[in-house]
Symmetry: C2
Subunit: 220 residues, 2 copies
């Protein structure tokens, strides 16, 4: 309850306003926006409920401030460098150190789950980033040209974010107490393995899938 407050990932802004915002980020990430109450956030921040409204205007505006602090920061740093060599995959970076970025990850998770303009923007930016990474990989010869870059990038982003959203289940499935470094370490290998060595031994299932899809798309 207290140990979650001093993580090195969030800058040490000690103003009361920042303390409230950080408590809200933790609450929204833990229980979601609707289930989090202004009173709980105020208690976690050691403050009266009225002060939360005084500083942010409303619970919805508080959420917007949290979005700006977590998501927009992550999104901006993902979009920051135009140099393809230095493209940074922010989410992967966060996921690589899940214990240090636990709050950011939890907040991104809940933003992406419930309807939120900031969550939408994050997902879309992440797809664009992945498209760039794919294109650059092809140019560099490290990746194969895929048939549908946009859909492939979307699928890969859904995979990464799906790991985050379903982290609790993934951890439990692997016998871990909670989602953390151990879970990531166990999953990363097999995931990259699937991207490196094909699961299927021939094209038959791919052909079958394409046949079904084209049947559904053209005639019925």
């Amino acid at each position: 309850m207290f140990s979650i407050l001093n993580m090195r990932s969030i800058d040490e802004d000690v103003t009361t306003r920042a303390r409230i915002r950080d408590a809200a980020i933790a609450a929204f990430g833990r229980r979601g926006f609707t289930a989090s109450t202004v009173r709980d956030i105020a208690t976690d921040a050691g403050v009266s409920p009225g002060l939360v409204i005084h500083h942010f205007g409303s619970k919805a505006a508080l959420r917007t401030a949290c979005d700006a602090h977590v998501l927009n920061t992550a999104r901006a740093s993902a979009e920051s460098s135009n140099d393809p060599d230095r493209l940074r995959d922010v989410l992967t970076e966060y996921l690589a150190q899940p214990d240090d970025y636990a709050r950011e990850l939890a907040y991104i998770r809940s933003s992406v789950i419930d309807e939120s303009a900031a969550g939408d923007a994050f997902f879309d930016a992440y797809v664009r980033l992945t498209e760039q990474i794919l294109a650059e990989g092809v140019r560099a010869g490290t990746m194969r040209q895929v048939s549908d870059p946009l859909a492939t990038a979307t699928w890969m982003v859904a995979n990464s974010l799906g790991l985050l959203v379903l982290g609790r289940h993934v951890a439990r499935s692997l016998g871990h107490e909670e989602f953390g470094t151990g879970t990531i370490n166990r999953i990363a290998g097999p995931a990259v393995e699937l991207y490196t060595h094909p699961l299927y031994t021939d094209d038959s299932f791919l052909q079958a899938t394409r046949d079904v899809v084209s049947d559904a798309t053209t005639g019925r």
Copy 2:
């Protein structure tokens, strides 16, 4: 509001109790458990709020009844046949006809997102099913033996369920109004393509990943 009530996927149980349960399934799937109110469910079912409690005892018990109706049914049918040749991937089947199973899919989505024993059981059962499918594929020669079957199965389940959980984003990313048949048709090909033709042209990234993981696991 009314058209969502007559779908062919849900059996035509016309008792009031069943009408309430179906309205609850729709509400929980649409807005989640916490955000759904007993009053809204009662209104959708054309009934007074008191009757909802009269039939199910409490909102929590109503949820349990919905779990039993949707998740346990799906899970049971996934586990039903012991014959590996007839293993049915229920979620894939649902996802193949997203318009027909919209309510079930939405309900599974929200069950898997928020903490729910039924959602946990569904995920775990789905991992076991995937492990069996992988093992059978290797035996039949259609799939390659992976290095970590449990982690691979967990990752694949997270991918499939991630597609469902993030369906809204996936649809938007592909320019679709909403998540439906069109979205699935566009995604299925590239997804199976990645399972068939490797993304990476050599082992270097896989090796790098394994080095990082083993470093983190052994010494620090």
